[in-house]
């Protein structure tokens, strides 16, 4: 099934490639790069290109948008990403392409009666997604009971034990809006919503203007102000292009529902880590899925519904 989808996607990549575009200049420069790289390699001065070979430096510069790449270009890009990680972090990673599954739209629901504020999800997410030290996709908000104003929330709570009497906990992350304002704000189409409803970012296409960050009403996007500092022994080597591969400096990133896991049938890392079972994830198109049971039988609500962003992220309580 997966391989069929993969080949279908590869065809799609092929189809999308504009036939008429004159690739002469690019091909020429690529060849020039490879030749120069060979020369540079022979004289072992390749550190001059930021540690890359000149060929890789050229190929990076002329890399296409993810959705425009042919299957071969994509494969070359993935190989290059693996080489870059080896050179930058001294660790071997595998970077794959994970196209969206057919007949799937992902949705998420959190039972706020059961969330106890342990922050296990935050930590699991950081480890799974190779997050730099100053970025966390999930923030667990501590709220006073009876209050729903996000302005009054405390995300930096430190207690000996949680839950604290009189408080409740509201984890927030990217809401994977069905009408995503961040996508509209992006001037270069570096972020878009895939067919499975996940809003993803092509980190290599992002120009770092941060318009999407100001457009997002949920503060769910984060900017890499510095090159992410990752320790070689803590890097998660199972990465994908559109998800958790090491990011370059100066680009925006966000929660992507663990595309490297969920598009292979696994749970997102936050759900797997949650000890209370407060997190419910699944296919909105499957009428027998757990998420559909919750949506149809519980009093669910979404954050800032009045904005019309149509989040695919719901909250409910046991009462």
């Amino acid at each position: 099934m997966n391989s069929t989808v993969a080949s279908a996607m590869a065809n799609e990549h092929d189809n999308k490639k504009p036939e008429a575009v004159d690739h002469y200049r690019r091909a020429f420069l690529k060849r020039l790069g490879v030749t120069t790289a060979a020369v540079a390699g022979a004289t072992s001065v390749h550190a001059a290109w930021g540690g890359k070979t000149l060929g890789d430096a050229f190929a990076d510069f002329f890399q296409q948008h993810y959705q425009q790449m042919s299957a071969q270009e994509l494969q070359e890009t993935l190989d290059r990403i693996e080489r870059k990680a080896q050179q930058q972090y001294g660790t071997r990673i595998t970077c794959t392409d994970t196209p969206p599954l057919e007949g799937v739209v992902f949705g998420y629901a959190i039972n706020i009666s059961k969330c106890k504020g342990y922050r296990d999800c935050v930590q699991a997410c950081a480890e799974e997604n190779n997050l730099p030290a100053d970025i966390r996709y999930i923030h667990v908000l501590e709220m006073d009971e009876g209050n729903t104003s996000l302005e009054l929330a405390d995300r930096y709570y430190e207690h000996e034990t949680v839950p604290v009497e009189g408080k409740y906990y509201l984890p927030v992350q990217c809401m994977q809006c069905d009408n995503p304002p961040c996508v509209k704000a992006c001037p270069v189409e570096a972020t878009w919503m895939d067919s499975d409803g996940i809003v993803v970012v092509d980190y290599d296409w992002c120009i770092g203007c941060r318009y999407c960050m100001s457009a997002c009403p949920y503060s769910a996007r984060f900017f890499n102000w510095t090159r992410p500092q990752l320790a070689a022994d803590s890097i998660n080597p199972n990465t994908n292009y559109i998800g958790n591969r090491p990011r370059p400096v100066g680009v925006v990133e966000k929660c992507h529902f663990c595309t490297q896991r969920t598009r292979k049938g696994r749970q997102p890392a936050c759900q797997q880590a949650c000890p209370t079972g407060a997190r419910i994830f699944g296919n909105l198109l499957d009428p027998n899925s757990e998420i559909r049971y919750v949506l149809e039988n519980k009093a669910v609500y979404r954050l800032k519904e009045e904005l019309g962003t149509e989040p695919k992220f719901w909250y409910f309580s046991d009462r």
């Binding site: 039972n111 106890k116 504020g117 342990y118 922050r119 296990d120 935050v122 930590q123 030290a133 100053d134 966390r136 923030h139 302005e151 009054l152 405390d154 995300r155 930096y156 709570y157 430190e158 207690h159 000996e160 034990t161 949680v162 839950p163 102000w225 510095t226 969920t262 049938g265 696994r266 749970q267 797997q272 949650c274 000890p275 209370t276 079972g277 419910i280 994830f281 699944g282 296919n283 027998n288 899925s289 757990e290 049971y293 919750v294 039988n297 519980k298 046991d318």
Partner: protein, 199 residues
Amino acid sequence: MLRLLSMILAVSTPCIIGAEEIDPGQAGQLYPEAPGFTLQPRNAKLKFEDCSRCHEEGDTDPEPRRLKTRHVREIDHGGNRFWCLTCHDGGNMDYLRTSGNEKIDFDQSYLICGSCHADRQKDWYFGGHGKRVSGWQDERVILVCTECHDPHKPAVEPRPPKPPPPVRIGLERQAHQPPDSSRVWERYDEQHGSKRHGQ
């Protein structure tokens, strides 16, 4: 196709534990429309497994009393209305007994929990309560109630949280200060007196 087949199988025999098949009893009729599931077996994790080593069949004193040996001393559940044989099978201590007088395995404790917590039980069957340990797509492997809730003391104890999120390098964390609920012009009046421009 395989998934459909396994779903049909799962619906017709809703409860399969490992290789051993257990008669679903009343559970089979409870929610036949619920998606099929497999339980993560838990018998091996029990603190006092194999109760029949001490309790011979039929030698249990059915009289409610305070136990002195090795057992759970306090039952913080059900407001003092429970005692051991409310859930445990007096005839054979290796089993439990439902309020419907059915002898069941320790892994089927959800049949007992549901006799009081019917709403939760229904949610658990359909996936609105409890924890799924398998992926979202494959066979649904879920935990039984007693994996998280000690039946003798079901409330989950508070525990320390993981560290708070870091602040961007060069910045300091702002103290949690809920914004003043008063209007901005009221705050201005407090600071500068009530004379505003145009008054």
